[in-house]
Symmetry: C2
Subunit: 210 residues, 2 copies
């Protein structure tokens, strides 16, 4: 795949902070030397408040965004509203069709599912919102027991930190395993390399409440 | 400690995305039900570009920020410039003196060190920038082998993801271990609970380059 790649990060009110900025930390690592160019896009350019409060800037509106090679669709409480937003869904469908790689984190999969483009494909999402997300795409082959799933151009991950694991896996495939490991180490992040392993449903001892 | 607590998140051009938004994801979790109120503060209010590209909004300028119970000082390439910024250092010194808890992630410790307030205290920082950061505070008792260090009101962490581990540890102390575990699980984050363990200097097998 020709590099560099422009990643369009989709923002909407109530996006989940780490769904966006965990993967951005990986893709934007200085060890990648500009391999990925990160742009933020929303219905309107400007400040967009996250679910946790702090706001990010959308660099482009849906109408002004340049060609996007990759998409990153985050989750967050705002997805509950955006699944009923025909403007966002039409834009997402068109740009997903144009893009080479389309990713979602957490309940961002509900938005992709509503475009219809996941129908017949394997996908996953946050296990804590599984019933709601899967109801948005009854024709999708939802994989419950997965940290992330790749099928064709689509890569969908479970909740929050799973999006970082998936981003590192994509860097490994698109650039190299060595660079992906270097990025993870620079982030002091313990990369979960197994896409089939769901941390939440197979909690390790240290993840269980004390 | 009386709750809720207002956290002032210090932004400057070239801040490290995940140093800021990893801890914010934890403190802003809906499982904490508003225990922490997150405000972003910079020299001037408005858009502040991260080291990775995407920009966040500073809600307040240094002059307009309300009382801050806690501070979060991130790292990032911008710290190389800000250690020489007397306006930021004077503000940080005054607000750290007023605050109940002062935290830094990664090279954010260099900024705290330059205020002089860490002199004689134990602190840590990113091992990849250890020589530079420690040169900013020769009277600080720097602990190389630590994921994070608490001494008095100051809590300083190693790089990036270590800031999430420290935030969860603070939530555990300020709220409860049960809630902190719930937040980590909701983030699908494998919380490293041992402040003495440095992931980078003691890499686990999965962290070594493939």
């Amino acid at each position: 795949m020709p590099l560099p790649l422009t990643i369009g990060i989709v923002l909407f009110e109530g996006f989940e902070l780490l769904d966006v900025f965990g993967p951005c930390e990986a893709y934007g690592s200085n060890h990648l030397d500009g391999t990925f160019k990160l742009l933020t896009v929303a219905a309107q350019a400007g400040a967009i408040a996250s679910a946790q409060g702090p706001a990010a800037i959308a660099d482009y509106s849906f109408n002004t965004a340049p060609h996007l090679d990759m998409l990153l669709v985050p989750g967050g409480i705002g997805t509950r509203r955006e699944v009923g937003n025909p403007t966002l869904l039409a834009w997402l469908r068109a740009r997903s069709t144009d893009a080479t790689i389309v990713t979602s984190v957490c309940t961002g999969a509900a938005l992709l599912a509503r475009t219809g483009l996941l129908d017949g494909l394997r996908a996953t999402t946050n296990k804590r919102a599984f019933a709601w997300v899967t109801s948005q795409g009854p024709a999708v082959n939802w994989i419950r027991q997965a940290r992330w799933v790749e099928d064709g151009k689509f890569a969908t991950s479970s909740g929050v930190s799973a999006g970082i694991d998936m981003a590192l896996a994509l860097i490994s495939r698109l650039v190299s395993a060595e660079v992906a490991s270097t990025v993870a180490i620079a982030m002091e992040y313990e990369w979960h390399r197994d896409p089939a392993g769901s941390l939440r449903e197979n909690p390790r001892p240290r993840m269980t409440p004390q």
